[in-house]
């Protein structure tokens, strides 16, 4: 699919430039260092105070070690994977749609997940026999299924992936449609509203090792094909016609990349709810500081997204101790202000 040599674009042309690749490596190193620092920091920050002395490290008591290894550690690692998946999904979405405002939830995944969660909560609450399956797979499973259904609907509505604009439009239509269904369902059982809202605001508080393993596996399943297809994304930036004339099979490329996008988003939504802005901001943050081709972007954006969500998670549980903020709200605040700064800078620079 990407067999043909594709003219390097943007920073791709500078690949040979030692300075640029050194900058990239430096950037990666900084991201990893930040991740390491936050991981260590998040192990000592929490709602309960546990003694973290050298003596304790040598002979920990059972309860503190449960808090450390069963709660805080999976939480921070899971947050990294979720952020990385979002960062990657954002980079893929922006590449496929050739739109800097594209983000992982573009295909209606958020609304689909919300609908899934609502159905699951209602099935668990009421004795709706027909919906027993939704109660069985749990909230996280239902969110994942809902997200997948939304993507399938979007792709069907847009009649394949021929047109980017058609796909975007279908995504918006599906999002509105599914939100309407959710609202209708909530009318019959308004008391589930808060539980659904808590889920949608995003929370890393319920991440366990099994969720971490799931997110990790999905990350591997996504990052490998995404980086393999990065040349195709580079070609797409030249325009769809040019890419096609270069011998790219556009529908196949789109299908593969949308598959990656869907898998990543559905997994994240299922595990941590809807965390906004990480997917949008992470690729921009990379592009602001570096000139990269898509292969580098697909490595740097996950690193950046992972560090971002980890940091947001740390802030959400630290700032209003001993209670917690929803992590989605923190990322929205941080991401929103970043976007404003970005726009302001752009308008200032002309």
């Amino acid at each position: 699919m990407t067999a043909l040599p594709v003219p390097a674009i943007g920073a791709g042309a500078l690949d040979a430039d030692g300075g640029e690749s050194a900058r990239f490596l430096g950037w990666v190193a900084v991201c990893l260092a930040i991740t390491l620092v936050i991981t260590c920091g998040s192990l000592v920050v929490g709602t309960s105070s546990i003694r973290t002395s050298l003596h304790w490290l040598l002979s920990p008591d059972a309860q503190s070690s449960v808090i450390l290894w069963q709660i805080r550690f999976p939480r921070t690692v899971g947050a990294w994977f979720a952020g990385a998946l979002l960062g990657m999904a954002g980079a893929v979405a922006q590449g496929v749609f050739r739109n800097p405002l594209a983000e992982p939830y573009l295909l209606g995944t958020a609304s689909g997940a919300a609908l899934g969660v609502t159905i699951s909560l209602m099935a668990a609450d009421a004795s709706m026999s027909g919906l027993a399956w939704a109660g069985q797979i749990g909230v996280t499973g239902a969110a994942c299924v809902g997200a997948c259904v939304a993507i399938a609907l979007t792709i069907t509505l847009s009649r394949g992936m021929l047109q980017t604009a058609g796909l975007l439009l279908a995504g918006i239509v599906v999002a509105f449609l599914l939100s309407a269904v959710t609202s209708l369902l909530l009318l019959t059982q308004p008391e589930t509203w808060r539980a659904m809202q808590a889920f949608l605001l995003g929370s890393t508080g319920f991440l366990s090792w099994s969720s971490v393993i799931l997110l990790g596996v999905v990350f591997l399943l996504c990052i490998v094909p995404a980086t393999l297809l990065s040349r195709g994304l580079d070609a797409l930036t030249l325009g769809e016609d040019t890419a096609q004339s270069l011998g790219l099979s556009l529908p196949a490329l789109r299908l593969a990349l949308l598959g990656v996008l869907s898998l990543a988003t559905a997994a994240v939504v299922g595990q941590v709810g809807i965390v906004g802005f990480v997917g949008l901001v992470a690729p921009h943050l990379v592009r602001q500081t570096l000139t990269v081709n898509h292969r580098q972007l697909l490595i740097a954006a996950p690193l950046c997204g992972g560090a971002l969500l980890q940091a947001a998670d740390l802030v959400s549980r630290w700032i209003v101790r001993p209670t917690e903020l929803p992590v989605g709200a923190v990322t929205a605040c941080v991401g929103g202000s970043y976007l404003i700064v970005l726009l302001w800078r752009r308008s200032r620079d002309g």
Partner: protein
Amino acid sequence: MSGICTAGAWRESVFSSGQPVGEHVMHRHERPVRAQHPLCRLAPRVPSTPTGCGMTVRRLRTVLAAVGVIPGIALSLALLSATTLAQTAGPVVLRDDLQREISLPRPPQRVISMLPSLTETVCELGACTRLVATDRYSDWPERVKKLPKTGGLDDAQIELIVSLRPDLVLLSRSQRITDRLQELGIVSFALNTQSYADIQRNIQIISELLGKPERASGLSQFIERAIRDIGAQAIARRHGAGPSVYFEVDQAPYAAGPNSFIGELLTRLGTRNIVTPELGPYPRLNPEYVVRHNPDVIFISSTEADRIATRPGWDQIRAVKERRLCSFSAKVGATLIRPGPRVAEGMSAMADCLARVAP
């Protein structure tokens, strides 16, 4: 969406905003019913305080102490607990509302309650000292306010819960938190808290979980008798058919239907709910529906009561024209939205208001 947001307020776990606020319309000394607490019968010669016995167990204890009865009670309590311990030495195995078999090898001593109604039940069963934390909405009795707060059911702070080493977490059916607690090896017990029947059932179950089964029937009977008395008096006081009522839980407008917990109490007070059962427990009504059914009495939050006449057409409703409106303070409102042991208090507040304003 915002309408639904506030509409969630009657679910007790979301009792943080949107609750009926404002002036304290009902005062306890206005309560016409002197419900008899089991302890009242223990000391028949103690002069009854004007507030009635139901709420004055603590005060009664002080009085008892003054007349020197405490040593005797303490002795009998000690004997009682000794016999109970002997009875409940074996493990308690019960099925919770998530259909899980929960086994407790011995009565739990460190309990976390994630729902106000369950907190209140635990305390009324005399096990308040075993609570080590509650959810953020639990605020009664006074002593639980000082306990650590572990968030709400939907955003529970797992880490805090684990760090408090509970041997039992009481909650309602919320799969996310139960799954996580199970993974971490913490025993949790899920209970439905929707209806009046749930109150009685939960008292029974919690008393068995706590190894205090002997306390259940006294509390249950006390509540049942109070509810029956309040209902009987309200109906006896009235001549002819009961008034038609509309209970607005939120201004969308969402109403309390006859199947809801509040609706059950209203029915027991002999009123006719303008909402029919098939509309569901908390239907969102067309405002026109209320105008057409022309209720005699409206229960509404005090902020909304002030501007109810400005709603189009509502000034023609009998209850609005004749100012037959009932509002409750947040404190009384809490007893109405929490199907817990204080249900009689909320019901009596409704009965008082009906006695004042109903035609």
